[in-house]
């Protein structure tokens, strides 16, 4: 769906190259995550892909067509949820959506009541956005991105500023969209979100992709192949995962007391990131 080859980008009037030979592909129906610290080039990559930044070097193909060959009809096929809320504060949420919806083919526009329900804003549909909290504005960002039923979605920090319940709602809906065949490109420095929803992730640092793979594979590859057993009497021990059911020491140990918990010792995505890139994610 999206093929990026040797993408290099330098902002006008700057000498610093912010994207350096990026190569990645995003399949149709895939959630692809770009993970990296602030200033790594995540948002810039998205801006190039949604044609806000031009004059890039390298090749980008979207839905089988070079990005530069797409005209304004490209914007009917994509939806963008920005990192920060951006709405007319003096208008109500519904007025905001109605205004921007008027620029798309009307047959593609989804029912507004349904959209507001998805993100739990149905009670506030006629409220002016200036009265919204940051989290509510972010949820409005989200439904504005999906209101015209685009094939490709760009979400920049989709759960930033949201409480855990609403963050969960958004994450579930993103997965729901993927199941409908939408292609989704997420940028985030929130490892939990990436781990929960992304099919594949790329680690990006200083404008370079250091690694691309499935989160589960990465966690497994970079973790210890052991299980840690903790008993209620505070005794703990680690055992190799291989042939665990026939491991006599393991079987003896779990008879020594009530089991409090048994955990595999796979790495977290954040640990993998730090190990691979040598960079902290949360800044």
């Amino acid at each position: 769906m999206i093929i990026v080859t040797n993408l290099t980008y330098t902002y006008p009037k700057s000498t610093e190259t912010v994207l350096k030979n990026l190569n990645f592909e995003i399949e149709k129906g895939e959630i692809f995550g770009f993970l990296g610290p602030s200033g790594a080039g995540k948002s810039t990559t998205q801006k190039v892909l949604y044609k806000i930044l031009n004059d890039f070097e390298g090749g980008i193909s979207v839905i089988g067509k070079a990005l530069n060959d797409w005209g304004n009809e490209y914007f009917e096929k994509i939806g963008v949820s920005f990192e920060l809320p951006n709405h007319y504060l003096k208008l109500t949420a519904k007025e905001n959506l109605e205004l921007f919806a008027s620029f798309y083919p009307q047959e593609s526009i989804r029912n507004f009541d349904g959209l507001f329900e998805i993100v739990g804003l149905e009670e506030s549909i006629n409220q002016r956005v200036e009265e919204y909290s940051k989290g509510m504005k972010m949820r409005l960002n989200y439904i504005r991105a999906i209101m015209h039923d685009p094939d490709i979605l760009f979400f920049d920090e989709p759960t930033a500023g949201l409480d855990p319940i609403n963050a969960q709602k958004i994450k579930k809906h993103i997965v729901h969209l993927k199941n409908q065949g939408k292609t989704i490109f997420v940028t985030t420095h929130d490892m939990t979100t990436a781990d929960e929803i992304c099919d594949r992730v790329s680690f990006i640092v200083d404008g370079e992709i250091r690694l691309t793979d499935e989160p589960a594979f990465l966690k497994n590859k970079h973790g210890k192949h052991t299980v840690k057993v903790e008993l209620e009497n505070s005794q703990t021990a680690e055992f190799p995962v291989e042939d665990l059911g026939n491991n006599a020491k393991f079987l003896d140990f779990i008879k020594k007391g009530e089991i409090l918990r048994i955990n595999t010792q796979e790495a977290t995505l954040e640990e993998v990131f730090i190990k691979v890139t040598g960079t902290q994610l949360q800044e």
Binding site: Y50, K51, I52, L53, N72, E73, Y74, F75, E76, I78, V80, F82, L84, P85, N86, H87, Y88, L89, K90, L91, E95, E98, L99, F100, S102, F103, Y104, R144
Partner: protein, 236 residues
Amino acid sequence: MEKLIKVAINDFRLVFRDNSLKFFFIFPLLNLFVVHYGVPFAVENFPLLEDFKMVIVMSITTQGSLIFGFIYSMVLIDEKDTNVAKVYGILPISKFWFVIFRLITPFLYSVLASILILLVEPFYNIPLVENILYSVQTGLVAPMMVLFVAIMAKNKIEGMSWQKLFNIPVTMPLLAFLIPVYLSYLFAIFPTYWAYQGFNKIILGENFLIFLFVSFVYSILVIALFARRFTKLHFQ
């Protein structure tokens, strides 16, 4: 067209829901009273002003454009401030034409304000066609100002300063009527010089069309230039 009407209605809502902006709509109305009652009263009581009444009327015709230009530039600056401009950057529309169409509302308001001023001023009996042709020229000041201020200003406070600065090239060509003719040509670099000269010719009953034509072409070129620059800056 439906989209543009929607944007025009939206702009109107934004202005009228902003207490600091809707207040400015009073001034074009006040100008009608000033030109109808205030200026004749002043001319009658201060005969010295008799020689300047044409300059005063012309000045008032552009005041409406400056006010509407200011109001709509504030809308665009606010749009940039709140990052709403970025949303327009990803809509399936031509950005350049969107900007041009967006300027139609302040242009029309300004033309209307100028037409009304010339209808209620008591000194000259300007035919309606000439009135409209001249008012179109003064109306073009509004889009020029909207774009200029929105390009230059980073926020509303800066916008107010740039708006004041923009008043200078708009009103300065009025000085052309107060100085020796050979010096007055210096003001020809400003589009409003041509409009004011056209107005003078209308009053004198001379051929005004060439001046209004130059004014129109010059203003359109300046607007197109500003619009190109604005389009590059606004949506990123």
